[in-house]
């Protein structure tokens, strides 16, 4: 693999960076969807994130990447109660390319072994590899319908159920779904949109100085990748430490009652569907606070993450042409005046 562009060197796009960092700190926030113009560095950012993620521990020898500290939701061989050796592994950020076939995603019979020795062995697929980490789909809106169905099922249940070629097995498959795409090329199925915790739209920077900086950095990178990556090493390390610190302290971040109240009021004002909006909003705000090293969630954190957590949950009013992001902003000024 060629060296990837460093996360720290991405100019602007603060919303996108924040959303990805939140997902890195608290996987429970549930997925990030990035929509936007061409050339805004959507996939660059996701690929860059992979380099920043702290290692995670898995059960040694488990084909499904079970987490040793868990007591439930393990695969059949890692049944709870057994003490297994664990090992540290890089956090997976697995690409699900558009041309992937179903057998590679869910896993299937290992054909090589079957032919050579008549052995029936299951070869885990992308879902198993992504378990505990991130699953990235570029051009997610172009994904084949039957693969979308499959993903919807797995993301809802957190496990991959395989019934094919004489196999009948299940294994855990919980991952942060990250998608990117260009809405001009096709709309996302509403059910899939629902699976993403955070959603945002990136735009080409309008500020001239930013635009120039984008081009200059990118040009430097392309001319000498190794040197460029090296020169950003320090900044990268800083972000890496920030993620780690946030991960350790997030359990202690407190959400004061008045902030909680405001979050609920915000969701009510916007009429967002269900309770998921509130939960995601609070979780995201807590992660944002942890990233700041703050022990308390404040209105400022709420304000920062509300558009990310809520804009795709609003009921579409057919007569309202207003962008959902603008509606969230309006509600924010009403409920949470700066």
């Amino acid at each position: 693999m060629r060296q990837v562009y460093p996360f720290a060197a991405i100019v602007g796009q603060e919303d996108m960076k924040l959303a990805l960092l939140i997902a890195a700190v608290d996987q429970g926030v549930g997925g990030v969807l990035v929509f936007g113009d061409r050339g805004t560095g959507k996939s660059t950012a996701v690929r860059a994130l992979a380099a920043l993620l702290p290692k995670r521990s898995v059960v040694a020898g488990c084909s499904y990447n079970c987490a040793p500290e868990r007591t439930a939701g393990l695969c059949d061989t890692c049944a709870p109660g057994k003490t297994a050796k664990s090992k540290l592994e890089p956090m997976p950020v697995v690409d699900l390319p558009l041309g992937a076939t179903e057998d590679r995603i869910t896993g299937a019979l290992d054909i090589e072994r079957a032919l050579a020795g008549g052995e029936k062995k299951f070869e885990p697929g992308l879902l198993a590899r992504a378990h505990g980490g991130f699953l990235y789909i570029d051009e997610v809106n172009l994904l084949e319908d039957h693969l979308v169905d499959l993903l919807l099922d797995v993301t809802a249940s957190g496990e991959n159920v395989v019934e094919r070629e004489g196999f009948s097995l299940r294994h855990p498959a919980r991952f942060v779904l990250v998608g990117s795409g260009n809405p001009e090329e096709g709309e996302l199925r509403p059910q899939l949109l629902d699976r993403f915790g955070l959603c945002l739209e990136v735009k080409t920077p309008t500020d001239m100085a930013d635009r120039i900086e984008v081009v200059k950095r990118r040009d430097l990178f392309e001319r000498d990748r190794a040197a460029f990556v090296e020169s950003w090493q320090k900044e990268e390390d800083k972000i890496r430490r920030r993620i780690k610190r946030a991960q350790t302290m997030i359990g202690d971040v407190n959400v004061p009652d008045d902030v909680l109240e405001k979050a609920v009021k915000l969701c009510m004002t916007l009429g967002s569907d269900g309770i998921r909006g509130e939960i995601t909003l609070i979780r995201a705000a807590r992660a944002a606070a942890a990233l700041d090293g703050a022990k308390q969630v404040t209105a400022a954190h709420l304000r920062k993450v509300a558009p990310l957590a809520l804009r795709h949950r609003l009921r579409r009013n057919v007569l309202d042409e207003v962008d959902t992001g603008v509606r969230v902003a309006r509600a924010l000024t009403e409920v949470l005046p700066a």
Partner: protein
Amino acid sequence: MSAALAASLFAVDPVRFGGLRLRARVGPARELFLSDLAALLPEGTPLRRMPASISEDRLLGGLDLGATLATGQPVAMRGLLGECDGGVIVASMAERISAHTIAHLCTALDTGSLQMEREGMHAIISARFGLVALDEGEEDEGLAPALLDRLAFHVGEPDVEPLASKSEIHQARDLMARVAIDPAQIDELVSVAAAFGIASPRACLFALHAARACAALNGRKQVSAEDLQEAARLVLAPRATQLPAPPEEQQQEQEQEPPADQPEERASDTQPDDDNEINIPEPGAESMVEAVRTALPADLLRKLVSGDPAKRGPQNGGSGLERRTLRRGRPAGSRAGELSGGARLALLDTLRAAAPKQILRKKLLPHGAAHPPLLLRKEDLRIKRLIERTRVATIFVVDASGSQALHRLGEAKGAVQLLLAECYVRRDEAALISFRGKEARLLLPPTRSLARVRRELAQLPGGGGTPLALGISMAANMAETIRRKGDTPVLVFFTDGQANVTASGVGDRAQAETDAIQAARQLRASGTRCLLIDTSPRPQPRARKLADDLGARYLPLPAAQAQKLSAAVKAELPR
């Protein structure tokens, strides 16, 4: 001049430039251009043609049928992208490339590699290539914007200018890495790009690189003002979406801007924010602006001047590409069967069926008999099963004439949106036709992009006469086109049925009505499913009569609450 220079620069570093779009007719000029270009590439550079209809397994790779059967082991086959690593792919009829192929090409151009997750195989394959896209599209179809953005050069018909010589290119290739560029020159380039409304940073990066290649071709180690101009002319000009206003006129122009809510005005929708804040480049860049301006292709210039850049500009073109290509048979596993009637072998599934029986079959052979590595029997054969669900395309035909008082049009728009939401849940396509004044217009060919339909609808102007017959005929034609693709059209008319403009666009109420009835009956004869939503304030006998002529279900709008509406449309849908 421009095509020759572009090709020469491209030959210096095909991978880094992403590619070259050549919009030219088939003919000796194009063939000569391509063979000249091929001659400039280093010996042994892979150069392959790619048909627009290339299958996913040929593009990305998959199981090699012959080798797999011969060895009894799964053998991977490289796809075209992998085979062309380090080389050039020539895509003919590039305007016809399917949306999925486009997405694969874009990923490979971005990452220089491709990840194969197919048929039991996992591999990351290096795929660095330059793409020559031969575009023969008519004016309103063209290469997908996402791919176009990743190709440095967009050129038209090749000219008779000779390309640079092989030795010049060779020398330039060596010199390239050492060519220096002044940071101020980068600033200039970026501000010129912004002045011409070019949003994608890729354009600037390509222009920078082109300037370097230009300097290298001329044997210089420093990018000169001329190199920069040449690069801007080649890379930026074809991407322009607006003309920069001269500094002194800019103020004036803003004051003259018409009020935003004027219904006739179609807002430019690519970068609304950018329109008012064109940053005028610093003095050094003025000559570059001029260079780009003179290099603007004539047709693009015309569009920019007429103030309708968003519609056809290269940043936003490719209308309806996904319309043709998003539909494909849904693979639905495989089944045992014979390879006849064009059925395709599901190799992997066949192997999986055969695998468990190998040991037994080998035991049954006479002792010591020679046998192929894989013992296949007829009963192992599995063939691919594809379900090609016919898609439904809903065509909304909206009467936007003056008789539709403005608020009624608003209600109709609302109703369309409601139905659109339904379409998206079902993954159907939707198209939009409106008629008013003297003509019917196709606002949007069948698409699955809700964003585009909503935007077109928001911009739909109202007022003028009612050319009902024209609207009906256009809808009938589109229904026919959709049917020919194998899909099912459903027409939804929003009108009060009061025709007053004839089929030939003349204001004559009596004739207009006769024409409308005739058009309606023709449409009915085609058996197309129709729904007519009467948009008059009170249900009109005229609209009901029109519905009868169309063979359409009739539904008055005042009664058409959300649920009834969707129920009515659903009733029209094929099961």
